[in-house]
């Protein structure tokens, strides 16, 4: 087990190196000069040239990459072009927010998605099944910004129950923090719940038609035990895979939802850094997100073993 994890982690290093190359190349092919964007209305050719020099943007691209990689290996993520501050503290500041939002969204998604999927599978081809399918498809297809604005309109403006947007750290005011997390978590969670429900349904249907389920039933086991202990557990593996993939996406930043609810997480940082061509921040966000996806993949693999004892890692 330990060696498996170690092997996976070491094996991931070339992937991450490749990611650094991709990230760097992608940021540099973006049109638009960061120096000019930074100076905005104040741009004079002399100042633009001076800033480009200062930021090292006039050096050969390979030199810039090597320089960035070298700093990265020393744990230095560089300085933000836009805000003229260290990137690492910005990332650390945003990380808990993004983790919290991801956690709650996933919680909503699982709490809705899995029971709905199980229900749809058990009541296959009934009104309940159709209902779940329709809801799942709506969840997937309603754009986040629309649902978000709808929720704000209903709960903040009409009913005045919840502040429309913003973020308060849980250690400052836990109650307010949870209240503010409610709408964004619902917005993101319902979208993910749809996918989870569909996968759970399909996977359950497959498992429920297997011989051992029939055997379990024939043995006279209670329906609930058959469904939860025998069927759901075995149906869980593809569902866990989907959840893992979604969590990876969430950690990369829920761009639209964060924008609508003014949550200062990775998503907004990403958008802002793209628009401002703030390369150091952009590179750091993408790299950290890639790292998160990679780690979640390793975790998902480990979860398979926990769910299905037949799976062993050596």
């Amino acid at each position: 087990m330990f060696f498996f994890v170690l092997r996976r982690l070491v094996g991931g290093l070339p992937t991450l190196l490749l990611v650094t190359v991709m990230v760097f190349a992608l940021t540099r092919v973006l049109p638009g000069d960061p120096a000019r964007l930074l100076l905005g209305e104040e741009a004079t050719p002399e100042l633009v040239a001076q800033i480009r020099e200062e930021l090292g943007l006039n050096r050969p691209i390979l030199v810039q990459y090597a320089d960035w990689l070298w700093s990265l290996m020393q744990g230095d993520l560089g300085r933000s072009i836009r805000g003229n501050e260290q990137v690492a503290p910005i990332i650390w500041q945003k990380l808990p927010t993004t983790l919290e939002l991801s956690f709650f969204s996933l919680l909503v998604a699982i709490l809705i998605g899995i029971p709905a999927g199980v229900l749809a599978a058990l009541r296959r081809n009934t009104v309940a099944d159709a209902g779940v399918t329709v809801l799942a498809l709506s969840g997937i297809s309603i754009p986040n910004f629309f649902l978000g604005i709808l929720l704000i309109y209903l709960f903040s403006i009409r009913l005045a129950w919840i502040p429309p947007s913003g973020y308060v750290e849980p250690w400052v005011d836990l109650q307010k923090n949870l209240l503010l997390m409610l709408m964004p978590a619902l917005t993101l969670g319902t979208a993910l719940a749809g996918a989870i429900a569909r996968f759970t349904r399909n996977s359950m249907l497959e498992v429920l038609s297997q011989d051992y389920v029939r055997t379990a039933r024939a043995k006279g086991l209670e329906g609930r035990v058959v469904v939860y202990k025998h069927a759901l557990r075995n149906a869980a593996i593809p569902v866990v895979t989907v959840i893992g993939l979604q969590l990876g996406g969430l950690l990369g930043g829920a761009v639209v939802t964060e924008q609508v609810f003014s949550i200062p997480g990775f998503g907004r940082l990403l958008v802002d850094s793209v628009f401002n061509r703030d390369f150091p921040v952009l590179q750091a966000v993408v790299l950290i997100s890639a790292l998160a996806v990679f780690l979640i993949n390793v975790l998902t693999d480990l979860l398979y073993a926990a769910i299905d004892p037949r799976i062993r890692y050596h």
Binding site: G32, L47, I51, I157, S165, F261, S262, L269, D272
Partner: protein, 495 residues
Amino acid sequence: MKQWLAAVVLWSLGGLGLAQTVTVGLDADPPNLDPLLSSALVDRQVHNQIYDKLVDLDENLRIVPMLATSWRVEENGTVYVFTLRQGVKFHDGTDFNAEAVKFNLDRYRSAPGSRRSGELSLITNVQVVNPTTVRVILKEPFAPFLAILSDRSGMMVSPTAVQRLGAEFGNNPVGTGPFKFVERRRQDRIVLARNENYWQRGFPRIEQLVYRPFPDDDVRVANLLSGAVSIITPVAAKDLAAIRNNPNLTVNNFPGIGYQGIWLNHTRGPFTNKALRQAFAATIDRDVVDRVVFLGTALPSNGPFPPGTLAHDKSIAVPKRDLALARQKLAEGGRPQGFSFTLTIAPGPVLAQLAQVYQAMAAEAGIQVRIEQVEFGTLLDRAAKLELEAVAVGWSGRPDPDGNIYDFVRCKAANNYSGYCNARVDNLLNRARTVRLPEARRDLYSQITKIIQEDLPYIYVYHPQTTIGLSRRLSGIPVIPDGILRFRGASLGGQ
């Protein structure tokens, strides 16, 4: 640590409703709180609470005392002698005095990467006469000088803090202003607290000021409607009705100092031909633009100087739409059947709508407008290289007329996106900088406006207004055309 504790205390007080907190919704997160490095307009909203300036502007854009109580202009406009306010302290407890003024002006004009160096390039020397007197010597007379000191170049930061914090100063700004910096979380909030030792007794009235960025118009207005913020700026024209219909809220519209319009490239494409420029310009109906796109909140423009500013000349008519003239000019330009060109715009719903209105109006004269949307940085880049045939870029405006025109229509000026070059205009522009008599300056700027209306490097279409949506409980915010909300005298009544 201390700052962090203060933030926690203030924040929890805010939650309990004990502190008088005003929360301001802005359209962007202010990137840089150090005036030296600031190049975004939105920065100034926060700067103006943390820093005092040597001079300020009043409702009529007149220069009024702030940290300088009075000034004399000597030697034909090349020497400014400022008398400074006494007993003023920076938020870190150090004294504001003539040494601090010298430090600041020298820093702005010579620190590496200073965004202010251009504005202050004519200063040759700053002399400390005594602790409350400073002499600033200019290379040549420069009429906009005081107006420039009413903006970021006149903001006084604590020299001690700059020396102590170095590159981190912008993240822990220290000034003499009515509010002190407490904390910032990028893309979330900037928290300021009342400066208890402010030099103007009894001010500021509110205890805490919080800035929150809402780039999306809908989200910004939703926060105002729900009461989560007390004031927002700007307000999208489409949202004005929702605010007006709410009994707790009100809208404040006032003329701004900037302009919006279209650059026409004189170096490539159809607009090398003057008659074709005039033909397209004649298709634009400024009143329709105002009514359709801005629901009556913009002012049709006759040139770079909006009504209410020094150089505005109301005897120069706002050009009217004239299709007959457009057709005549098309024939004159050798294209009686019309022509086509590409209008490049930055992304955004209002800009897109505006471009479509231009497109529809031009089509009636047979001019086909292709609309191309390009991300803003790329747009600036290509516009500066004169690669675009026509580009819609405006200007936020400066209180002195020079700031609205000098760097735009002069030959090879940094922001001249048309490639226009007219020696007569350059000559007039340079003269208008050195003359100090307002009437004489106005006359020079009127001459320039008329030439530009004829030559059309730029079609001035409208002057945007500053729009503010605010709670009726909030009062004491002066209406100053530079669009900056000053919270020194603000108060929150009727709890």
